[in-house]
Structure formats: structure tokens, C-alpha cells
């Protein structure tokens, strides 16, 4: 593009500097590979304590903190959260402190008794049952009783609740479904903790009518360690059906009602089956006092996918076929999308952004602690990808708080939007910062309120 020449200027004001700026032309994305640095934190040598108590705020371990030391501190927060959430639960949903994570005795973990989005936003916008009340099931699922689960899979009867329901077969933001190596659709669930659930319930945000009456921006409660108050936490989980290429011993498994939801796509016939499913992806979003943009942690099963342009560490992956030489990488399946299809072409997935060396080192430390606490723990098969956090939470000009890292994706939840393209690649805060309710009021980093009817 030809434009006027640079003007000569002898004053140094914003205006003068602007006068030297002409127009922009062309665009060549040229991203540097991520640099790796070793954290220098006093915490590095400390032993890891596995705790059932959810952390309510980040513990800063270095003064003055650096970007790297804070990333480490947030990553520790993520691991602590992951452990607390996956701690064995008592029937009331609280952590069973007489047990330890991964002790092999089975049963539900803490977060599995949280409410799924379909329990909060009912089809007719009516008030959902209270936190401790049973969930609602689609008609087609009603004939499936928890007791029909095999005897060695007793999670449901132990809980004494309606089984969890997996009714979503597309990744967030409608980017498409993810097909596993058995040719089956990956299933998803979005869950809220009691604090978040009750905020929606108490303010009647579960319906369009209630949101209209509320008529203000949502402001979910934050965790506050001084008051020992647990704030709002939102989870996204990705599951695959066990069997075929997937050995249930390698996964955290549960019994779930897998529901083909006709509301998702045209042509989907309602169907429901009780299946053993294994966890492959896990997001945690936690609103804390110092991080009003929430803290975004993401975990994956270690065998999900190889990293692009890196040597492969495994012979087999959950979402990658080493023998398929002409498979398109990270491409959503062709339409029509129908989770009822008996077999679909598996998705060939690669991780675009490598897990940093620091995060890998932290994963090893937590895996060692998990193994020491419960030899053979299935939780050593899960790894932290990274944590996105606001570096400038109080910024007046950037409501997302200048997140670090700038981009973050889980290969099972943001398969097709990995990378480093501004506004195109997955960026938790950048995307969720745009969330609004059904009236266009800001909904505090969650799109859930748009599900109200």
C-alpha cells in the first residue's frame, strides 16, 4: 500500500508521534517459539502436600515476583485445586478426609456431585431444584436406573443420586465435535459449584425473565481466604467411552448417562445409554478476590495427543493415530454432526503449543507425590497444561487483566482453536470476557447465563 511519506516532527507529544504513523499494510504472523526459563523460587525444594482443601487464593513465593515465579505459583494453585476437586467424596459431596486421592477404593470425587448446566437452566425457564435435590432426566433416560450398572462400578448407588448426564457432544463455542480413536464422540459437561449455583438461583438468573428483572451485570462471589469463603467455581469436563482402544485402568472413570440430545443438531434422535466413561480433559475456572477475571486451569490425560513438531513419546494416543499419514490435523469432522452415528472418522489431534518445561517439571513433582500417596494412582495419568491468570487484574484499559499466558488451549476442549492468533486462538479470559446474559448485560466471564430460557 502506498501512503504519504513519514512526516518530520520536532515535538514529542502523543500527537506528534501519531503524525509519524501512517497506515498498516499486510500481515505476516511470525511467532517465536516459546522461550523456556527456570523458575527461581524459594518453594522449589519444598515437598508437596496433597490436601483435600481447595485453595482460595494464590500463594506468592518470591519477592518481588516475576512473570515466571507467578506462573509457577498459579500452576501450583491449579494442581492443588485439581487434587482437592478429585478427592474422594463422602455421600454429602464433601471430601472424605479419612481417605486420600487415588486410593483405589473407587467412588465419586468431590466435583462429580456438582450441578451440570442442564440442571440449572431448565427448558421452560422454571426454577431448578435446590442444590441437594435430585437432578432432572430426559424422558429417554428415565428407564436407566443406577442399579443397572455393573457391580464393580458402584459410584452411582454409593452417591444415591441420579446419575450424571453427559448431554453435549460438541466442544465449547460450537467449534465442532471431537471423535476418539474408537470412532465415538467425546462428551462434555459444564458444572458449577454450590456458590455459583446459588448465585444463579437466588438472583433468578436461571430464566430470561429473571435476568431481565435482575437488570445488572452479573458479579459472582469470589473466594476469600480471610473469611474462609469458597467463591464461584466452574468446570468443563471431557469424557470418552471406555472399551476398544481405551483401558479403563488408565483413566478416572465413572458411570454416566450418555444422552444424544436432539437440541444440539438437526437429525439427532434422542437416545440414552449408561456407559463407563473416562476423563480426558478438565477445565477449572475459579473466581478469587485478587483475580476477578477468574483463574483458568486446564488439565489433560497424558496420552491425549502428541505435540506438533516434537518427537512422539508414545506408541498410541487417545486422539492421534500414528499410522495415519494423510489425516488432516486438528480439523473438525465433516458435517452432519450426529453423536448417534455408530462410527465416525477419528479426529487426528496434535498439541500446537508445547507444555512449558516448567509445567512439565511441576507435573513430575505432583505425579511423584500422587504415586507416593497411592501407588498406581490413576491421577498420575493427568497433567497440567497451564494456568491463565491476570497479570494486571486492576487494569483500567484491559478488562481481561493482561492475561498470562496470552493463549491457552486444551486439546480436548479447544482442539480446533489452538495457536497464537489474536482473537482467533483460544484465550480463556479474552473469550469469556465477552460473555453476556440474554439481555446483553455482562455475565462475569461465563456464557452459562445465555442458556436461560
Amino acid at each position: 500500500m502506498n501512503v504519504p511519506p513519514l512526516s518530520c516532527s520536532h515535538r514529542f507529544t502523543i500527537t506528534a508521534a501519531l503524525a509519524t504513523v501512517i497506515y498498516l499494510a499486510g500481515c505476516s504472523a511470525d511467532e517465536k517459539p516459546e522461550q523456556v526459563h527456570s523458575p527461581q523460587t524459594g518453594e522449589a525444594a519444598a515437598s508437596i502436600q496433597l490436601s483435600p482443601h481447595l485453595p482460595l487464593e494464590i500463594t506468592v513465593t518470591k519477592t518481588p515476583p516475576t512473570l515466571e515465579s507467578l506462573q509457577h505459583d498459579f500452576d501450583v494453585f491449579s494442581w492443588q485445586s485439581f487434587i482437592a476437586l478429585n478427592w474422594p467424596a463422602k455421600p454429602d459431596g464433601s471430601p472424605d478426609t479419612d481417605r486420600t486421592i487415588g486410593d483405589g477404593k473407587g467412588g465419586p470425587v468431590v466435583w462429580q456431585q456438582w450441578k451440570e448446566s442442564r440442571d440449572l437452566f431448565l427448558p421452560d425457564g422454571r426454577k431448578p431444584p435446590d442444590w441437594n435435590q435430585p437432578n432432572q432426566l430426559p424422558d429417554v433416560c428415565r428407564h436407566l436406573e443406577p442399579s443397572s450398572a455393573p457391580a464393580n462400578r458402584m459410584e452411582l448407588t454409593q452417591v444415591g443420586k441420579t446419575p450424571n448426564l453427559l448431554d453435549e457432544s460438541e466442544e465449547p463455542f460450537q467449534t465442532g465435535p471431537l471423535i476418539d480413536q474408537n470412532g465415538q464422540y467425546t462428551r462434555y459437561a459444564i458444572l458449577t459449584n454450590e456458590t455459583m449455583f446459588n448465585y444463579v438461583l437466588d438472583n433468578e438468573l436461571y430464566s430470561k425473565k429473571g435476568q431481565k428483572a435482575f437488570d445488572q451485570d452479573a458479579d459472582f462471589p469470589s473466594s476469600n481466604p480471610k473469611e474462609n469463603k469458597t467463591g464461584s467455581i466452574m468446570l468443563k469436563a471431557a469424557w470418552i467411552k471406555m472399551g476398544g482402544q481405551y483401558d479403563p485402568d488408565d483413566f478416572h472413570t465413572r458411570e454416566a448417562l450418555v444422552y444424544n440430545n436432539p437440541d444440539e443438531q438437526p437429525g439427532v434422535e434422542p437416545a440414552c445409554s449408561l456407559e463407563q466413561v473416562g476423563l480426558v480433559g478438565f477445565h477449572i475456572a475459579h473466581k478469587t478476590e485478587d483475580e476477578p477475571q477468574w483463574v483458568w486451569s486446564t488439565f489433560e490425560h497424558v496420552a491425549n495427543a502428541p505435540t506438533k513438531d516434537r518427537d512422539r513419546k508414545r506408541e498410541a494416543y487417545n486422539f492421534f493415530d500414528p499410522d495415519c499419514k494423510d489425516c488432516d490435523i486438528n480439523e473438525p469432522p465433516a458435517r452432519p454432526w450426529n453423536p448417534g452415528t455408530p462410527h465416525s472418522q477419528p479426529t487426528q489431534v496434535e498439541r500446537v503449543t508445547p507444555i512449558t518445561r516448567e509445567a512439565q517439571a511441576l507435573n513430575k513433582r505432583f505425579h511423584a507425590a500422587l504415586e507416593a500417596a497411592a501407588p498406581g494412582s490413576v491421577w498420575t495419568n493427568y497433567e497440567l497444561v497451564s494456568t491463565q491468570w491476570p497479570t494486571d487484574a486492576d487494569s483500567k484499559t484491559d478488562p481481561t487483566g493482561a492475561p498470562a499466558p496470552s493463549f491457552l488451549a486444551n486439546t480436548t476442549l479447544e482442539t480446533y482453536i489452538q495457536g497464537h492468533t489474536p482473537q482467533g486462538s483460544s484465550n480463556c479470559m479474552g473469550c469469556h470476557g465477552n460473555a453476556a446474559d440474554t439481555n446483553g448485560r455482562a455475565s462475569d466471564f461465563t456464557y452459562l447465563l445465555q442458556r436461560a430460557r
Binding site: M1, N2, V3, P4, P5, L6, C8, S9, H10, R11, F12, T13, I14, A16, A17, L18, T20, V21, I22, Y23, L24, A25, G26, C27, S28, A29, D30, E31, K32, Q35, H37, P64, P65, T66, L67, E68, L70, T391, D392, K396, T397, D398, P399, T400, A402, P403, A404, P405, S406, H420, T421, P422, Q423, G430, G433, N434, A436, G440, R441, A442
Partner: protein, 176 residues
């Protein structure tokens, strides 16, 4: 990476702050997840060496800036002296530095010929530099196609310009 910048980076940021009118804390935040400065410094040095056939020009710019700063001059005075330099390449390099920070692009000046006036073409350095252009900050807006603002921001008054530039007031002669 430590928060501590190298001496060269400190001088580069100091020079850039004087020429752009932005605070050093905006150009190089203490906790800097984007870190565009680390892209710009080597890029700027390389371009100066290539275009001006002068591998010392970059160092000359920084040392001149350091000498002026050591005299206790205000930013305005430093800037005036930088752009009044007798060396034409020196002045053009300063102007290109301003262009780079504001647009995230690198300008190439095309001399007048065949009756056509002198003109400038520019090429974006990267997708990241596009979003980091200071021009968006001065507009109290956001890059086209990339916004961090919350839904509905367009109906609200943006923050004061000083929040974007990092200066409490717009007295550009104030020392940083």
C-alpha cells in the same frame, strides 16, 4: 526471565518512551506477558543495520539518548535534540522507531521518482505486533478484529487517555 531488564533494553525503552510519549511502564510493564519489547529491540537493530548499512547506528542512538538523559534534560528536550541531529539517518531511524511502536509495522520509504512523490509502505512485524500498536491506545479503542473489552463497551465512555499512556497527565515534558 527476570523482571530485570538488560542495560541495553533499559536504554531502548527509555529512548522509545521519549519518542512515543508513552510511559516506560506501559511499554515495558514489570510483569509483561506479551513482551513485545523483546521482539522490537532485535528487529529494530537488524533493520537499522540492513537499511542504513551502518551496524553502529543502533548503538549510536542508544548512547546519544543515554548522554542526553544524563544531563537531566526533560523528555521534551531530549526528544528535540534527538530529532534535530545533524545526521539524517539518525533522525530517520528515530522516526522509524516511533512508527514501529505506534503501528506494529516497519516502514519503508520509497523515494520520489517518475513524478510520484515520496511515499511510505509498511509491513506488519507480526500478528502480535498488530495488536500491540500504540495507535489503538491513543484512540482509546482496540485493534480492528481484536478487543479485550467486555460486551457492550461501545456504549460506555472509555477510560481517560492517561490510563492508556501511563502518564498521570498529558504534560509530555514531564520527566518519567
Amino acid at each position: 526471565m527476570s523482571n530485570e531488564m538488560s542495560e541495553e533494553m533499559k536504554r531502548f525503552i527509555g529512548l522509545s518512551a521519549v519518542l512515543t510519549g508513552f510511559s516506560k511502564s506501559i511499554l515495558a510493564p514489570g510483569i509483561d506477558p506479551v513482551d513485545i519489547k523483546s521482539d522490537y529491540l532485535p528487529f529494530f537493530r537488524k533493520k537499522l543495520a540492513e537499511e542504513f548499512k551502518d551496524s553502529d547506528l543502533f548503538d549510536t542512538l542508544l548512547s546519544t539518548f543515554s548522554d542526553l538523559s544524563a544531563k537531566g534534560l526533560t523528555d521534551t528536550q531530549i526528544g528535540q535534540q534527538l530529532l534535530n541531529n545533524d545526521n539524517g539517518d539518525f533522525v530517520t531511524a528515530c522516526r522509524k522507531l516511533i512508527f514501529m511502536w505506534y503501528s506494529g509495522a516497519w516502514p519503508t520509504i520509497i523515494s520520489a521518482r517518475d513524478g510520484q512523490p515520496e511515499s511510505t509502505v509498511s509491513t506488519l512485524i507480526s500478528a502480535k505486533s498488530y495488536t500491540q500498536g500504540l495507535v489503538w491506545q491513543v484512540m482509546q479503542s482496540h485493534p480492528m478484529g481484536s478487543s479485550n473489552y467486555r460486551y457492550g463497551y461501545w456504549a460506555k465512555v472509555p477510560p481517560e487517555l492517561s490510563a492508556y499512556t501511563g502518564h498521570d497527565n498529558q504534560t509530555q515534558g514531564a520527566k518519567q
